[in-house]
Symmetry: C2
Subunit: 309 residues, 2 copies
Amino acid sequence: MNSAIGVDIGGTKLLAVRLEDGNLADEFKTSKPDDGAVMIEGIVAAFNKLAQGHEIAAIGVGVAGLVDFETGTFAWGPHVDGVNIRVRDELSTELGLPVAVDNDANTTAFAEYRLGAGQGSEAMVMLTLGTGIGGAMVFGGSLYRGRGFAGEFGHARFARGEHVCDCGQRGCWETEAAGPALERLARQLISDDPRGSLATVVDDVAPSGPAISAAASAGDPQAIALISQVGRNFGQGLASVISIFDPDRVVIGGGLGSIGEILLDPIRASANEARYAAEHKELPDIVGAQLGEQAGAVGAALLALEETQ
Amino acid sequence: MNSAIGVDIGGTKLLAVRLEDGNLADEFKTSKPDDGAVMIEGIVAAFNKLAQGHEIAAIGVGVAGLVDFETGTFAWGPHVDGVNIRVRDELSTELGLPVAVDNDANTTAFAEYRLGAGQGSEAMVMLTLGTGIGGAMVFGGSLYRGRGFAGEFGHARFARGEHVCDCGQRGCWETEAAGPALERLARQLISDDPRGSLATVVDDVAPSGPAISAAASAGDPQAIALISQVGRNFGQGLASVISIFDPDRVVIGGGLGSIGEILLDPIRASANEARYAAEHKELPDIVGAQLGEQAGAVGAALLALEETQ
């Protein structure tokens, strides 16, 4: 018996899965909790929904934010009020099961490593592009966590842009190469070219990232050009990540990352052009994530089975 | 019996040591070899010098450049002519001993981890400031190498400066925060203030990094200000390294790094100011290297004992 529940708490939703022998057996989605008490209640409710009638070995939780894996404590995150919530202790008291709690970028990367685009990699860096740029590393089969908070790639100051990041600094990678940069470029384009193809397709002076991605996927040339620009900006920073890690695999995920080759091709071209000593070493494989939005919850369940048994 | 020879081939010198039970028993220094054949001859000559009358278990070599640790091949480096030199194979044929070959930043970091400033660290990043910025990582007691070429921190494009790097790109960290940046700032200062204290102390319109460091160590306020400026530039990039790795220890070495608190204090202040989520996690320990110029050779010997026995 090898059944576990995984829960992923992101910026907008709580997504839970039941995993049976590595396969997704069931899932449940609800809105994300607003504070710490609601977070614990929400996880317990999702657990009860999915666990009924099944023998569950462990539960794993991935949360966006700073998580201390050793103690299972959610230290702080941008989407949930409250700090230093002892998620592992509260859940193990409540449910009487082994609990693992980690950052959701870590649980997502672990799922991709075990079941998706990272399989077989020895030195994998996963980067998720959405509202920001998150990331995680799996080296020799294990998540690298530093003191617990590693992988905050979005705030590495690779960019030379002028845009102030939400964190207060200038030059953060995510200010140039994630969803808000795409939306900013689109607003500018539509303002400059109000009768252009993108303006016509999206019918909005300030389209959302998903709307721009949808227009690009449907073939709109202006939307494709914008995605390509963000991809090139991303590739500039990725060149630095490659200089530092020399990974064998880079897995690109997240909402914006899921668009595929329209984004991945310019990322590869730009990273290849900008990286150091390109004539002496190969560009690593740069591939899209495979597991979709369930990855964070699936990885939390896998991690719970692995780390608590 | 636990005796090994370590050889470090850097930008200007070949330095070899004999290690007995973890202690430096003897050393030998000569000029660095210019090409691959001379490199092998030079290592063998240094070995013969130090090994005579001793039973040697293994030999380790650290070389500046891209080294494939798995095959013991020196792929390419800025200071030695020739590519893809099979150092391990040639030395083991010549000497009949187990051989380990690695990048010199790796061997230096390994020595600091085992015997110096990195002792007890779980997630250590070492950065060497000299002509450029090199680096290496020791995670859970083992060197992290990626595909073999990890740790090229100097070419991570953290800086937003205008200076073109030797590698052809703009914005490389080392263009703003290593020896040449210090020398550039000093030339500018002396040109602007030809009767200032630094001009008087160094008596040179274009002083070298070591001359500026010596002036700072002797208390010259202008030299101290320049070192401090380079330290702050370095700290800006270090903030990104901290966001990515969340290390528990950062060890600063190299020629410029060895100046101590005059450099380390502004590095700490600037990294602390620029890093992400500073209110939620502690600044890692940022400390100077302890083992001096022998570290690379000592680490090569330690690695040879560890990896080949």
